[in-house]
Symmetry: C2
Subunit: 205 residues, 2 copies
């Protein structure tokens, strides 16, 4: 298997952290692509018509894209430690929590960064300042329910670490580009983030 990636971007980082939790990060060949010059070209569009990373090339030559789908495949191939649910019912609930932070936290934060950070202008054309501002408001509102959610349990999806923690953690790490540090004002997010940040998989390498 070969992973086409850009490790500082939030979605590739989700897959890296997932691989690290599985003990697989150094067992898969990784090809770092420059997001500004190497993803919207024919070579990469042949791997993913959307021109995005990450892309996992399987040994039979097929290309699997979309971070969460790649994780689903890896979870099947390497079931331990379990990160996506032991039973179909648990898998549905973890999927719920993963999507909740993906759409409710990562999406507004990514929109804030992509439309608001001068350095991201090469990727997001046109950058729209009003949309960056509206996204920042949505992201800040999301911290309220995330903090309340985390008051009642250790991790995003319950009392153990799962893929949903990876998604939420990578989202907050990306938002450091706009100096957003919700852990400074939300105690449950702070406690949860400290736990996740202490894991070896949190180190982007």
């Amino acid at each position: 298997m070969k992973l086409y990636t850009a490790k500082l971007a939030p979605n590739p980082r989700r897959v890296h952290m997932f691989l690290a939790e599985k003990g697989l990060l150094d067992q898969i060949e990784r090809v770092e692509l420059d997001l500004a010059t190497q993803t919207k070209i024919p070579d990469h569009l042949g791997r993913n018509p959307l021109g995005l990373v990450p892309v996992l090339e399987l040994d039979d030559g097929r290309f699997l894209t979309e971070s969460r789908a790649i994780c689903s495949y890896l979870e099947h191939m390497h079931p331990e430690p379990n990160l996506m649910g032991q039973t179909p019912e648990e898998r549905a609930f973890i999927e719920m929590f993963d999507r909740r932070v993906e759409w409710g936290v990562l999406l507004p934060l990514a929109n804030w960064v992509r439309h608001g950070h001068p350095g991201l202008g090469v990727l997001e054309k046109p950058q729209i300042a009003d949309f960056a501002e509206a996204s920042s408001q949505k992201a800040k509102a999301a911290m309220v329910w995330l903090d309340e959610d985390l008051a009642g349990r250790d991790y995003v999806a319950g009392n153990r670490f799962t893929i949903a923690d990876i998604t939420a953690f990578c989202a907050l790490e990306f938002a450091r580009l706009v100096k957003f540090k919700p852990w400074e004002s939300h105690p449950n997010i702070a406690r949860w983030r400290d736990q996740v940040k202490a894991r070896p998989s949190a180190d982007v390498g």
Copy 2:
């Protein structure tokens, strides 16, 4: 089980169509909520802290949210007809295609509608005209790869109908609000859409 929903919105419609394909639509109690007045209130925030529909209330009182997670649960409870993959590997590839149309087609189309249609101002505050325009450009660009993808196979994820067709179809149906009709200029989308539209599950009821 009880489904809190708003059948004309694209995400609830995905679950309705999924249920209809399973022959379950009339077997689950449905509670229609008004998106402008009945979803951001304490009653519903207790079901989903994000104040969104659909929400599936299970018989044990738990609330399952997020359209695709609800479908994962229903697929487990009612495996036939299979809509999300027979094997873990097929499930990962169908998840890839479902996410590809969700993020690459539904998201820009929904942003176009929510930021561009006067009637959606009650849900999207503030509406940002420049972002509606940028989203419309992304959606139109997405139609190029979707049409090319569909040139090589009957359905979005391969040669049989799956959840990915439901996501793509519901996205295009929602975009009719801004009079976007990509099937008029993209022959493979037109052929695919005709097939999907002929299914009884395509009728929103």
